[in-house]
């Protein structure tokens, strides 16, 4: 019973944390914050695994400057990201888009989690009630002897 409450408490904490995390900050972003936010979604062209917001490379600076120019000219985040994709292709985005082969990146982890959970469920059910297992009197006596020896 105690463990059930502990699990419920953990689930409640997780849900509250997710809700707070999903809400993020309130209020509109400044232009500088928008530039940083958009640049954080764009891959630095010359350094594969860093965002254009983090990298010191000249190409990353060019990307940041371009984003700034477009933010100042009144373009939306979507328009700016679309421009980058129109020049470099989809893989300039740090988060893969949910279409084509790239969608596997999103689908496969979900499939893996579902399969793993199903596997665990099946394993737990088997461990709980294995139909082929019959406990003999000898087994019971053995367990009792061991428990007595351990002083339980």
């Amino acid at each position: 019973m105690k463990s059930r409450w502990a699990w419920l408490a953990m689930a409640a904490v997780l849900v509250v944390a997710l809700v707070i995390g999903a809400q993020g900050r309130s209020g509109p972003m400044t232009q500088a914050e928008r530039v940083k936010h958009i640049a954080s979604e764009i891959r630095c062209p010359t350094c594969r695994n860093q965002s254009a917001a983090e990298s010191d490379a000249a190409a990353a600076k060019a990307v940041r400057d371009e984003i700034q120019r477009r933010v100042q000219s009144g373009q939306s985040d979507g328009e700016i990201v679309a421009f980058m994709v129109s020049r470099y292709g989809d893989d300039i985005l740090l988060k893969p888009q949910g279409s084509g082969v790239a969608s596997l990146v999103w689908v496969l982890p979900v499939v893996a989690v579902v399969v793993a959970l199903a596997g665990l469920g099946i394993a737990f059910r088997r461990w709980r009630a294995r139909p082929g297992v019959k406990v003999s009197e000898e087994d019971r006596a053995l367990v009792e002897r061991e428990l007595e020896r351990e002083g339980v």
């Binding site: 190409a59 600076k61 990307v63 292709g89 294995r130 297992v133 087994d139």
Partner: protein, 193 residues
Amino acid sequence: MSNVSDVDVAVGRSKRHTARWAAISLGVVLLLFVAVLATRKSAADKQAESPLLGKQAPTLSGTSLDGSQVSLASMHGKWVVVNFMASWCVPCRDEHPELIKFTQRHQAAGDAAVLGVIFDDTAPNVRHFFSELGGSWPVVDDPNGQTALDFGVRGPPESFLVDPNGFVIWKGIGQVNADGLDKLVAQGKARGA
């Protein structure tokens, strides 16, 4: 004793069952992986993906190494190899004689030319590079990386073949060679560009 045997049989059957499903799952995943790899383009195929293919080339203009103003638009009517390069880039050094060969082959006919763009390098370094290795085509400085961004360039050498109407018909990542470029130009001419 018979109880123990029953347990062993049940557990053994269960393990075999699990192993079979694990093997089937692994096999399916491997098959999918092979299928994805088999349908990708070969690494030997130097034609690189670019959203610019088939589209009008981005505006390209700037100051050349000799101080004159150069633009891609002014080369309208010619096949132009737009070549992003840097003096520190070893493959650029290796492909340079091929670009010289390409320009020499087309010098008389005047149907094709090379337009270099400096990528993440300085004009004095590139001037030294040309005085050392030869070549006399215009090279545009791109100090802020704007032209590289407009063409979606990730690193030198990258080359784009622009047809006489200003459309990008090919992008190559890595070294180019004169014969390969000639073949592309011939194919483009045959298509009536």
